[in-house]
Symmetry: C2
Subunit: 354 residues, 2 copies
């Protein structure tokens, strides 16, 4: 069907921009420290001047950098302009995957912008276009990066003062227990999840779940390196906590291999490459009876707002990427106290220039 109504207009131009967005606080995980989120934002414009926005938050762990995204985006945007129809999402996704199979963050930026424009043309929020219930978006966790025990205590305290009830605590250091105890002291009533970002051995993972459970941690994310599915399975079976796979489960086709090894799969647009791939990964995990957490990198609202559209499908949200920024170039889905408020989305994915 040729786009021929006002709600189905052709894409006539595209652009992208690179932004160095300072973080409120320096952010450390087991693999390194950062003070700035360098993101790329994409805009697509249709013939009536309506705009779709998306963003990329590339992660070096997945071999993507701001430079690599910047390099591949012109090719992807050219393809989208040549297809023209923002409703042709299946076709666009396949074209992008063929052009940039290893550049998931770049594809995700374009995917979000395409869906934002299509839903904006239709004057509907994307989550409603997909029939999803905005009322059931879970509260996002707020991440406490690695710091000294005292530093993490203070970070957690500030997070609680700002109203965040759910904390995700990064571990994978030489004194993990001291650190988590400090966080728990500062936030005695918070829901706490722990992410070790591949830093432990299976034996450490099993042992650590004991004191993690004593400190009322909800679940443990990616304790061992990504390729160690057996390690995840052992910790699930012998440890005291539910286990989540993040680095071990990049796309939908990775779900079967981890399905009997973990309880939760972490889905990120920047890993899988867009909204449709994320939907596939979520539904594959559900078919296996797994719970799902929608996660993110350090990202702008230009991409977080896209991920928010899928939150009614999942049990857990870790979509604080833009909450960690000192300033952002776009506003996104309202997230006061971490409560993802999809009713704040008037149309599209709910991104507006700041």
């Amino acid at each position: 069907m040729t786009p021929d109504t006002d709600s189905q207009r052709t894409i006539v131009s595209s652009s992208f921009e690179r932004h160095d967005l300072p973080l409120e606080e320096s952010f450390t995980i087991s693999r390194g420290t950062t003070d700035t989120a360098t993101v790329l934002t994409v805009e697509l414009e249709d013939e009536t001047g309506r705009v779709g926005v998306g963003g990329a938050g590339p992660a070096s762990y997945y071999d993507e950098t701001p430079d690599s995204v910047e390099e591949v985006l012109p090719k992807l945007l050219e393809a989208v302009e040549s297809i023209g129809d923002p409703h042709a999402q299946q076709v666009i996704e396949e074209r992008l995957a063929a052009l940039a199979p290893d550049e998931a963050a770049a594809r995700a930026a374009v995917s979000i912008a395409v869906h934002d424009l299509a839903a904006t043309q239709a004057d509907e929020p994307l989550y409603r276009r997909w029939g999803l219930d905005g009322a059931r978006a879970p509260t996002t966790s707020y991440t406490i990066g690695i710091d000294s025990p005292d530093g993490m205590h203070d970070r957690a305290q500030r997070a609680r003062e700002r109203g965040y009830d759910v904390l995700k605590v990064k571990l994978g250091t030489d004194a993990d227990r001291d650190r988590l105890e400090a966080v728990r002291e500062a936030a005695p009533d918070a829901r706490i999840r722990v992410d070790a970002n591949c830093a432990w051995t299976p034996e450490e993972g099993i042992k650590n779940t004991e004191w993690l459970a004593d400190l009322s941690v909800e679940f443990l994310e990616q304790p061992v390196p990504s390729e160690d599915i057996d390690g995840l399975r052992r910790i699930s079976e012998e440890g005291a906590l539910p286990i989540a796979a993040d680095e071990s489960c990049v796309t939908a086709t990775d779900v079967p291999a981890v399905a009997d090894a973990v309880d939760i799969v972490v889905v990120k647009l920047m890993k899988c490459g867009g909204l449709r791939p994320a939907q596939r990964q979520i539904l594959a995990a559900k078919a296996h009876g797994l719970d799902v957490m929608l996660g993110c990198m350090t990202e702008s609202n230009a991409s977080i707002a896209g991920a928010c559209q899928l939150t009614p499908l999942v049990e857990y949200a870790d979509l604080d990427g833009a909450l960690l920024l000192e300033s952002d170039v776009y506003d996104g889905v309202a997230m006061s106290d971490g409560k993802i408020d999809l009713t704040s989305v008037a149309r599209g994915v709910g991104i507006s220039p700041r």
Copy 2:
């Protein structure tokens, strides 16, 4: 979000009707013979008079009958009216599943009508709302029911004369090879698939794939009883043809158990209970690297048109339910020569009263 624009209007009334639709030819499979498709159709009307249509084609194999559908529909329609918003599809699906967990065909009828109304309100075809590419709908097969070898020869000949290039041949008799040879003689250039509807043992299945392959059959559907997943696996491994699971794979959560036993999963709205459950089953199968066939019961266009919306996601279509009818109460998606023409859908799922 309260429905408050013209494209988001509340459901104000609903109705359903039972129809005995005569088949063009009596239809026999390994489990029995029928001359009539008894279907239920559902209509939902919004406050501006727009109508969403859906249909149920209950199958006794899954313990549903026209009577059981008729009995449960008032409860389901009452629930949908009380929710009111046809865009609240996630909420509606969960409510229906809670009310009628074992009545998949009844739920499917309501699911199709809800999606039809929502997409009609938005003045978009459903497949485009979901970003799917109408151009890639596969050609549907046309089913040749069990008959004498001569009878099947003539049925196949008539099917070919009517332009159907892809035949699905029902077997599971005492002289299957004679029958398939008769069909192949009448349709030397047709693509042929075979469905044994659970009638064989694994040993028969393995042996039969030899002559099925000699007769250039594409794949073999459900050779053994539904619970015999090992039998499916053995035939896949030791036989000469790709194997499809139909009765062995009812919903998305059945996919993991058959994933290493077959090559193809058959998804039917009347098995899984609606458009969203079918989407989940399709995407779960894809995550396992399986191909998918969208299938049907003997059904009216009121339900076939719903299944057609998902065809851009699948490799094979067996959506001839309404093609087998002498008369139908609705028109649906154009299917001349078996070619599913989604561009014929102006809005909704493309159902109109005949």
